[in-house]
């Protein structure tokens, strides 16, 4: 699994951080997403998929 983010779209709602801490974080300055781990293990797939689906502005894509 490889994660890509389009940070320009991020509205800083932080849903991804809630669902997959350790994979995503929020910037302390502008609240936008920080990708901590672009290739997390298979065990995180469900959480990352839910984050991608629930991100309100479709920032996260998984390949």
């Amino acid at each position: 699994m490889r994660i890509e983010i389009d940070r320009d779209l991020c509205c800083g709602a932080g849903t991804c951080v809630l669902l997959a801490p350790g994979v995503f974080d929020q910037d302390d300055e502008d609240g936008t997403v920080i990708l901590l781990d672009a290739t997390p293990g298979a065990g995180r797939r469900a959480a990352v998929e839910e984050a991608a689906e629930r991100c309100p502005t479709a920032v996260i894509s998984i390949t």
Binding site: C11, G12, A13, G14, V17, D28, G31, T57
Partner: protein, 408 residues
């Protein structure tokens, strides 16, 4: 292709007005016509009070798609409420700049970037002990009163107001006056004149607060914004008003209506009392099941385009019904059943897209702390009047109870 046929079919019917009457005896269920509209099609024609024919969105997937699509604009021009709510006749001309709820990206994005850092999970977690302290103090006062008391006035209103006062750095001695103005603005029984007066007085208070933050910036949001950004006083005023409008009533009515819903489902309440690890799931289910933001979000089509097989015309007003979307059988199994173990997190109670609630982590914290503290303090909490006597807020943007008399 069935989509197109279906939508053409529903297009031939007479457009409905926006329904607000709740089914009798079911204060938690959305108005019945929403389910009928959704069964026809997730997007149906809607008649607005001035005769404009726009759209109503009742499906979960379509609702998320509309809110995530910026061709549906949030700019005020041409936007109309689907119902005349008290206060909706108040002119919007005099509103300060900086009210980013009524903006589109990229202007909107600029404000979100400046504000989001104050609402991150990390920041909100730091607030937990203070929120707990405020809840405990309100419950102390309630306990001294012996009951019955109106939970709305004693707990559900003051908790979010205190939290917001703290976020904004409002001095203790001004908080009572602040609450009075906020109460008038959000009350059903206030006249237009009273609202205008409170708006002016509240504006004065907030101006003074912004001035004080510039003189001597504290660690609160306003203090930080004066130091870290180049926002003007007027923009700060607009931002503050957005935080008040967006964060107070919503949380208040979730607290009160949520307590009512729990008291009305005694088996699930007993399970929750026996196992507090169910709390976060219960909060999520209450958000979905109650969906207190009941009128809107509203958007206006900024161009002509195809959306889910329909032609949308520039200027068409689209209203998403969050209560309807959150009861969509395509999104939730047995959607009308309240189930704190459901684990349904993909609801739209906080909206979606770029305007998705900025305070959602804070709201969840206030609700979790609020429900748990209240229920732990009063193990025998119950309604003090028969359920039929509890009035609801059908015509308000935020649904809820008018009062919730309880005893313990």
């Amino acid at each position: 292709m069935t989509q197109t046929t279906q939508s053409q079919e529903s297009e031939n019917r007479l457009p409905r007005p926006f329904p607000t009457a709740r089914p009798s005896g079911c204060p938690f269920d959305p108005p019945a016509p929403f389910a009928e509209a959704r069964a026809e099609c997730p997007v149906t024609p809607l008649r607005y009070p001035d005769g404009h024919i726009g759209r109503l969105v009742t499906g979960l997937a379509s609702g998320r798609a509309v809110l995530g699509d910026t061709r549906f604009s949030s700019l005020p021009a041409g936007k109309r409420s689907p119902v005349m709510t008290p206060g909706s006749e108040l002119s919007t001309d005099a509103l300060p700049t900086g009210m980013f709820v009524n903006m589109d990206p990229p202007e909107h994005t600029r404000y979100r970037r400046l504000l989001s850092k104050h609402f991150t999970i990390r920041r909100v977690r730091e607030l937990r002990p203070r929120v707990q302290e405020m809840a405990d103090r309100l419950l102390d006062a309630m306990e001294r009163d012996c009951g019955p008391v109106d939970l709305v006035e004693a707990f559900a209103k003051p908790l979010p107001t205190l939290v917001t006062s703290e976020l904004l750095g409002l001095p203790e001695e001004d908080r009572a006056e602040f609450r009075r103005h906020v109460d008038v603005l959000f009350s059903l029984s206030s006249s237009g004149e009273e609202m205008r007066q409170s708006m002016t007085l509240l504006g004065g208070m907030l101006h003074a607060l912004i001035g004080a933050a510039r003189e001597d910036p504290g660690p609160d949001i306003l203090g930080r914004l004066t130091v870290e950004t180049d926002l003007s006083d007027e923009e700060l005023l607009g931002i503050t008003i957005v935080l008040l409008i967006a964060g107070l009533e919503t949380t208040t009515h979730m607290l009160a209506l949520g307590t009512y819903a729990l008291l009305s489902h005694p088996e699930q309440l007993a399970e929750l009392r026996a196992d507090w690890s169910l709390l976060d799931g219960a909060v999520e289910e209450l958000l979905r099941y109650l969906s207190v933001v009941q009128i809107g979000p509203v958007r206006v089509a900024a161009e002509d385009f195809e959306f889910e097989g329909r032609s949308i015309r520039t200027g068409e007003v689209v209203t998403v019904s969050l209560p309807a979307a959150n009861r969509d059988p395509l999104g939730f199994e047995n959607p009308d059943v309240f189930d704190i173990r459901r684990g349904a997190t993909r609801h739209l109670a906080f909206g979606s897209g770029p305007h998705q609630c900025m305070g959602h982590h804070l709201a969840r914290l206030e609700l979790a702390v609020g429900y748990e503290s209240l229920l732990r303090r009063f193990p025998r909490l119950e309604l003090a009047v028969p359920a039929e006597e509890i009035g609801t807020r059908e015509m308000m943007v935020t649904y809820g109870v008018l009062a919730l008399p309880v005893r313990w």
